[in-house]
Subunit: 293 residues, 2 copies
């Protein structure tokens, strides 16, 4: 069975074809331009692919409330042309197959829970830490939506005592995204994160913010696994620093070996690597197919 | 149909009998002593009540993992006699009816979603702010458990700039519970919270901490309603102060009228008042009964 997948990002779209085992058989990517042009490219790519379902994991914020008249829209994004654009309704006009729709990070969380680092689990958090910070929540076997959808990249964290940087978030200044996403790192230190050496104090500071946010997320959501993806997390040396901060912040309060002796297997990179987003969209498509049966 | 309910607190146990409409028909309460003695009182109370199901909302931490051999235990509580005590297994020996078991705050969240302020909704958070801070999470129509269960009272918040108080939490010092629960208020100001006048700066400070925690919870969990109960929240003048802090912290980022113009109907007292806990335990019993059918 062939399943189409769209990883709809604000910078680029990745389209692919996979199967019910999460294997990616083909892929293509192109820059995100005006929605009419970009969606035409999506349609052209899938036209002869004989897919039986299609999953779309999208940049946001998006409307994922199935009861809403604007279900399937990208909503308040500042991205020119995309504000209140009916992405899913437009695709529905073309594809008469089950369509799955969720945030890019919820898609990645579902992908990781289906085929990746949280395989078989009914619970995980997926963080992407790159040009921004996003969080997908899979809990009790369901992707969490609620009022809008999780936007956990913008939680408030305490300042590192040596940090004088104001923060990059246009809404909150020094929220997690403002302090820990790539643009903030670059502005604070004057070089790209990828160019900072491993012994640079930037990394201890980065782990300070991420570890704090994860500790609070563990307390509030009690996830069974936390997966950290995105460009910044390509710096694998961050993982031990983050785990140490999490343990320090929890300070033995959460009575589970997972966050103590087992923490190396609790806070982990994506099992699907950089395919987490695209594989997650396959998982969304598969879920839509199964729900339609 | 009669449903038994136990609100198992660390200080007192409340037992009651209700029906499938959430009406409380009878109740009794007694101090929490050694578990054998207290559970004997529970058994004696229900013995002739002809209940068809029993729900127990318990102080914690507790084991709510149905796959665990210690399912139904109170676990790492420091309360003498109760550490690793098999509350639910002991009750199962006596009551051959469906038994519901969850945290006191998850019970209250379910009660509020069934008959209270979030009636009919598939999503709410229930905070109790009293001698401690606890959080129950009802999301996508399910009570959230995960690795252990939510312990969102211990999230880390930023310090109020005028606050020099160290914090009361034995694990984290100045976490939310350490700063905003009753004992912290009393130690900081030298009088009980209930004796502080409405124009005392304590309340602005209290709202600062609670509002910050709620803003981060909204970002991470996107609940459809937030219900604030517990002794401290009897100070109803706190509600507008907290709502103002939430709006200030979110700063327009969450695109929903619920957290803007509609915030007075979004962050609210329990619809079930001080019965939220006991009614929630009725709801747990009802759910166990329905699952057993």
């Amino acid at each position: 069975m062939l399943i189409g997948a769209v990883e709809a990002g604000g910078t680029k779209f990745v389209c692919g074809v996979g199967n019910e085992n999460g294997e990616i058989l083909d892929r293509v990517s192109f820059p995100t331009e005006q929605p009419e042009k970009t969606l035409a490219q999506v349609v052209a790519y899938f036209k002869d692919k004989q897919i039986e379902a299609l999953g779309i994991g999208s940049f946001g914020p998006i409307n994922i409330d199935r009861e809403s008249s604007e279900y399937g829209y990208v909503t308040t994004t500042p991205k020119p042309g995309w504000t209140n654009y009916p992405v899913l309704p437009e695709l529905k006009k073309i594809f008469n197959i089950p369509l799955g729709w969720d945030t890019d990070v919820n898609a990645a969380a579902l992908g990781e829970a289906t085929w990746g680092a949280a395989k078989g689990s009914d619970s995980c958090l997926y963080y992407t830490i790159g040009t921004g910070v996003g969080v997908g929540v899979f809990a009790e076997g369901k992707l969490l939506h609620g009022l809008v959808h999780p936007e956990g990249g913008h939680v408030l964290t305490r300042r590192h005592p040596n940090d004088t940087y104001a923060g990059k978030c246009p809404y909150h200044g020094d929220c997690l995204e403002g302090m820990a996403a790539g643009p903030g790192i670059e502005e604070r230190w004057g070089v790209k994160a990828s160019e900072l050496p491993q012994d640079h104090p930037a990394w201890e500071m980065e782990a300070f913010y991420i570890g704090q946010a994860l500790a609070s997320a563990i307390l509030l959501l009690s996830p069974k696994k936390i997966i950290l993806g995105g460009g910044v997390m390509h710096q694998l040396h961050l993982f031990p620093l983050i785990r140490e901060q999490v343990r320090k912040n929890l300070n033995g309060y959460v009575a589970s070996a997972a966050v103590e002796a087992g923490i190396d297997d609790y806070i982990v990179p994506p099992g699907l690597g950089d395919n987490a987003g695209l594989s997650g969209s396959i998982a969304l498509g598969l879920k839509a197919y199964q729900e339609a049966q």
